[in-house]
């Protein structure tokens, strides 16, 4: 397998992991809204908290994490751009 193919393989897997996390926080937890709402977080019912704030925050964290991870993959395969940003 060429370096390019190996790089793309890793990038693809990373994409699937990111989308799995995304699906968990955007869809899966809200399938169980009524159950979650019986628990509480910071005094808020949990499902309410997630839709008002929690999932939004999770997306922000996922995005920073995924960008950093992808940069590491770039570096490993020598596709890292010189710092110009």
């Amino acid at each position: 397998m060429s370096n390019k193919d190996a790089y793309w393989e890793k990038t693809k897997n990373h994409m699937f992991v990111t989308l799995a996390l995304w699906a968990f926080f955007s869809l899966v937890i809200f399938m169980f809204g009524s159950e979650l709402n019986t628990m509480s977080f910071l005094g808020y019912p949990l499902a309410y908290y997630m839709t008002a704030q929690g999932s939004l925050l999770a997306f922000v964290i996922i995005l920073f994490w995924t960008a950093n991870k992808q940069e590491k993959i770039d570096e490993e395969h020598g596709f890292s751009e010189r710092g110009d940003d």
């Binding site: 995304w22 399938m31 009524s34 939004l56 922000v60 751009e81 940003d85």
Partner: protein, 617 residues
């Protein structure tokens, strides 16, 4: 000023700007104490900020194609994040989001998840690859990747429908705010709004829009957060509402029990003469509605908004302006962070505002009091006069019940500062923020449409030999025409025929999502597949919309139809996008695989280093 080390000086420039704006707010507060009328403070807030945007627009003028279309690809990560956040958060987000949560509660908050979660799709599936590609517009990518004028024209068509649906609502919002703040008729307000929008974009294209959007973000976020924190500490919600409103949310649940959530019949509301567009609380604030259908309604709305976000050209094109692929990825994260600051505050504002009106123990509470008493409150009188609030005594007991209080969603943001006893300077600030939000989104949309028409239709299809001066002239003329067309429709209040802003998301996801994703992620996708997919997606989605939306279905299909599987007019992308995917895959597999040169182009798109596919054009 915009030469040389301008980019290095950005933090200093915008830091000074932010400081200057804060000083301006303090000056206005002093002016209010000194007896300047509330109306004049509103005028000064809007006029001052709009003049600054116009100055930035003028200073960013350019005769360079790269600067006009993609801001010279030198916008740093964090600043591009701010610009995207302003581009994204519309007048509707600013004035109506908290109102939506106020009335819709948990069910409505599917929008919050949808309008933020979409950025994960943008970052993983699209933005870095489109940046590497080096295109000027979204149809530029589709046209080059699949090859040919037909597929390019199809994607411009989808972009036009989606963005135009959105832009009239934005110009409408600028008009509303300008007319209220400046005290001029709505029709005049629309044209004032349009001129402000054009000054910010016409001379400098994407470069001017970028730097004004950063300035607009700073104004809008200050204007949103100051009132939220201030109201919260005024009504006893604590100084940091995001972490401290648990008890308030629980209290709202108790009050809902006490007053009861009653659904009014349409006939009752008509008989009482409730003005159009006003709403009442009928859903639980934090309670999750029971049943599989309710869950599906929540999820399907979130899916449409997320996938739609990842297909909206005016957002995607913001990531064409970063210096590198890596910067594009990081920039998506920063965008969402800046959006999060406002979106996570909207439910808190809704909670505070709802509690202020509902809790009989608070001095501001009105529900459960006698109607004559409520009608004598000053702010109720003022907003009743302009038909923004309304009281209907359905049961005739002279006591205001929860279902008898009607209000327009915007009032939550526009009037809560007043209700909670904040000085008028805050209301002036809110006007300036709403104006910034509406203008920044309108700018981005008008530019997305006119760039696609000038670059993809005029330059790439009609006259590929046109020189730079001619191309930029055409781009600017189209910008004015598109803006004027949007303002014309808005000024005649024809916006109701264009329906909801959510439609823009559904149109975009029906016709653009899969052609964009598969263009990068599936080498086997062919031109014929893309053309068939775009057409099938947008046509099926639009037909379904006409079938399910009563205003269209009665004349076209002869009656009102029950939505299929709960897919109503807000969710028609769930019909269009899957059809687009299936047609695109089937047709691609039936046609010859793309040539080796196209396959190599896709390979090059996938790695961050190396030359962009499209260089300077």
């Amino acid at each position: 000023m915009f030469k040389g080390d301008f980019i290095k000086n950005l933090p200093k420039i915008y830091g000074t700007y932010t400081g200057g704006f804060l000083v301006f707010i303090i000056l206005m507060a002093i002016a209010e104490q000194a007896g300047v009328s509330a109306k004049n403070i509103g005028v000064m807030f809007v006029a001052f900020t709009v003049l600054i945007y116009a100055a930035i627009g003028y200073l960013s003028r350019t005769i360079n194609v790269d600067a006009y279309y993609v801001a010279g690809r030198q916008v740093p990560t964090v600043f591009n994040g701010m610009a995207t956040a302003a581009d994204w958060m519309s007048g509707a987000s600013f004035v109506a989001l908290a109102g939506g949560v106020y009335f819709g509660g948990y069910t409505y908050m599917a929008f919050l998840v949808g309008w933020t979660g979409g950025y994960v799709l943008v970052a993983t599936l699209m933005a870095p690859y489109l940046r590497k590609f080096g295109c000027y517009t979204v149809p530029d990518f589709i046209g080059t990747r699949y090859g040919g004028n037909l597929v390019r024209a199809c994607s411009v068509f989808v972009l036009f429908i989606a963005s135009f649906t959105y832009v009239t609502a934005q110009i409408n919002a600028t008009g509303t705010i300008a007319s209220r703040a400046l005290g001029i008729p709505f029709e005049a307000g629309v044209w004032v709004g349009l001129i402000s929008i054009l000054i910010c974009s016409m001379l400098g294209g994407m470069r001017a829009v970028t730097w004004t959007q950063v300035a607009q973000y700073i104004v809008l976020i200050i204007a949103y957060l100051i009132p939220v924190f201030w109201i919260s500490s005024n009504v006893g919600g604590g100084i940091f509402p995001h972490l401290m409103l648990g008890d308030e949310v629980a209290r709202l649940g108790e009050l809902e029990q006490q007053f009861g959530l009653v659904k009014n019949s349409a006939a009752d509301m008509k008989a009482a003469g409730v003005p159009g567009g006003l709403k009442y609380i009928s859903g639980s604030h934090s309670g999750v509605p029971e049943g599989g259908m309710a869950v599906w309604k929540y999820l399907s709305l979130a899916i449409c908004m997320m996938v739609g976000t990842a297909s909206l050209p005016h957002i995607l094109m913001r990531y064409f302006t970063t210096p590198s692929v890596r910067a594009a990825r990081k920039s998506v994260a920063w965008s969402l962070f800046f959006i999060f600051l406002l979106y996570s505050s909207a439910p808190m504002l809704a909670t505070l505002s709802k509690l202020a009106l509902m809790d009989p123990n608070l001095p501001t509470g009105i529900i459960g009091k006698s109607i004559s008493e409520v009608q004598s409150i000053e702010w109720v009188q003022r907003w009743s006069e302009v038909k923004q609030v309304f009281i209907a005594d359905f049961n005739g007991d002279g006591i205001l019940q929860l279902n008898e209080w009607f209000m327009r969603g915007d009032v939550v943001v526009l009037a809560t500062p007043e209700v909670a006893g904040l000085p008028f300077v805050i209301s002036g600030l809110v006007f300036a923020g709403g104006m910034a939000a509406a203008m920044s989104t309108a700018d981005g949309l008008v530019l997305a449409i006119s760039n696609a028409l000038s670059h993809d239709i005029y330059y790439k299809i009609i006259d590929p030999k046109a020189d730079t001066a001619k191309r930029l002239l055409v781009a600017r003329v189209l910008l004015v025409i598109i803006g004027a067309a949007g303002a014309y429709i808005a000024s005649f209040r024809l916006t109701s025929i264009l329906g909801s802003v959510a439609w823009a998301f559904d149109f975009a996801m029906s016709g653009l999502f899969f052609p964009l994703v598969l263009g990068v992620w599936w080498k086997r996708a062919t031109r014929q597949g893309a053309i068939a997919g775009i057409i099938a997606g947008i046509v099926s989605g639009t037909l379904y919309l006409t079938w399910v939306f009563p205003k269209f279905s009665v004349p076209m299909w002869g009656g009102v139809n029950t939505p299929f599987l709960g897919i109503d007019h807000l969710r028609f992308g769930l019909i269009g996008a899957p059809i687009c995917l299936v047609v695109m895959v089937v047709v691609s597999l039936m046609t010859k695989a793309p040539s080796p040169s196209v396959q190599k182009m896709v390979d090059d798109t996938r790695i961050p280093t190396g030359k962009p596919i499209l260089g300077k054009q």
